[in-house]
Symmetry: C2
Subunit: 209 residues, 2 copies
């Protein structure tokens, strides 16, 4: 039930395909162990070359104990592409692309590297937005935690798993009369809502991703 059919489900390590998913998804889920329990925190990520940067503020309190040791993490980046309605309950599924990265995350301590990572994170919120806002002060930089994951490291394991295409019904069900097909879904942006305290509440459009 809801098992993606093998015919259309693929696991790949193709780096360009992995990058495309990392660059399209706005958020990731970071899994780690703390106090003997699993934790999964949603946060923003950005890729520069073969390094994935993860905004760590929400996790900072939990992770403080681990600093400055590398932290074993699983970073999962998922895009939901469609709802797959089959003739049988069993073959209902979802179309998706997920990158699952196992590796050791390190805190970014070098302030130049941290500045570049934070600019890349701000650029995920709006294209080139890091050049269209006040840059961080050194105090603001210090107040922000960023984790880096080297996709090329020997200890890193990266896999992209995807399901695409129509439902994969059993032949015996094809004439059952039930509707079958895919409802595509995607994250879409609505109209910009300017802050009410803009001095000139204009229609100035930010560069959206």
């Amino acid at each position: 039930m809801l098992t993606p059919s093998r015919a259309v489900q693929r696991v790949t390590t193709d780096r360009a395909a992995v990058h495309a998913v990392l660059d399209e998804a706005l958020t990731c889920h970071v899994g780690f162990a703390a106090e003997g329990r699993p934790h999964v925190l949603p946060t923003l990520h950005a890729r520069i070359g073969e390094t994935l940067y993860v905004h760590g503020s929400t996790a900072a309190r939990l992770l403080t104990a681990a600093r400055p040791e590398p932290l074993p993490v699983c970073v999962t980046v998922s895009l939901l592409d469609g709802l797959v309605l089959a003739r049988s309950a069993f073959h209902h599924s979802l179309n998706y692309r997920s990158v699952i990265i196992h590796g050791n995350a390190e805190y970014v301590l070098d302030s130049a590297a941290k500045g570049r990572a934070l600019a890349a994170l701000v650029d995920r919120v709006g294209i080139d937005r890091s050049t269209q806002c006040r840059p961080p002060t050194s105090k603001e930089l210090a107040a922000t935690a960023v984790l880096a994951l080297d996709l090329d490291a020997e200890s890193t394991d990266v896999a992209l798993k995807a399901r695409t295409g129509p439902p994969n019904d059993d032949e015996a069900d094809l004439d059952s009369g039930y509707w079958a097909g895919v409802i595509p879904v995607r994250l879409t942006a609505g109209s910009a809502e300017p802050a009410c305290d803009l001095p000139t509440p204009s229609g100035l459009a930010p560069s959206l991703r």
Copy 2:
């Protein structure tokens, strides 16, 4: 940087608000430890009353070792609501609602309970869809793994965290001339794509969620 401002970020355990997030989000991320490493798997979930059911097939191989012991998990259900563009890089943020559940998941072994859970999971893909398709055979039921998490259990911890509203710029930045505001985002459905092997490729619309 990208730190949600405290004024608009709230943590609540209000059960109706928690249910609303669980029922709106189509997918969750399940975190657990296996072979000494954290794992985070995206999957479909469905709620019946105070029980959250998680489709476990993708995790089945990893989790087999844990069966039939309860498995400590962190199930995180996240909805991205907006991109928050502030005058300063530091106050850029995301609007979101996330439910984070720490608890012990149990495999659903009772076949009546499993049938109800699987029907609820199919109903997430389309409203009442479980009554508009061929129900599972006993073999299909047996082939599907479902995990249950009791939201009311003493060992379960449930929290909803959300950020809403406009950017929260520092007063000194208000006249900096940079645009500030929110770009709302949401998951939207496209037009249904009927399977090409439907005997009558009609416009029959499935009931979408």
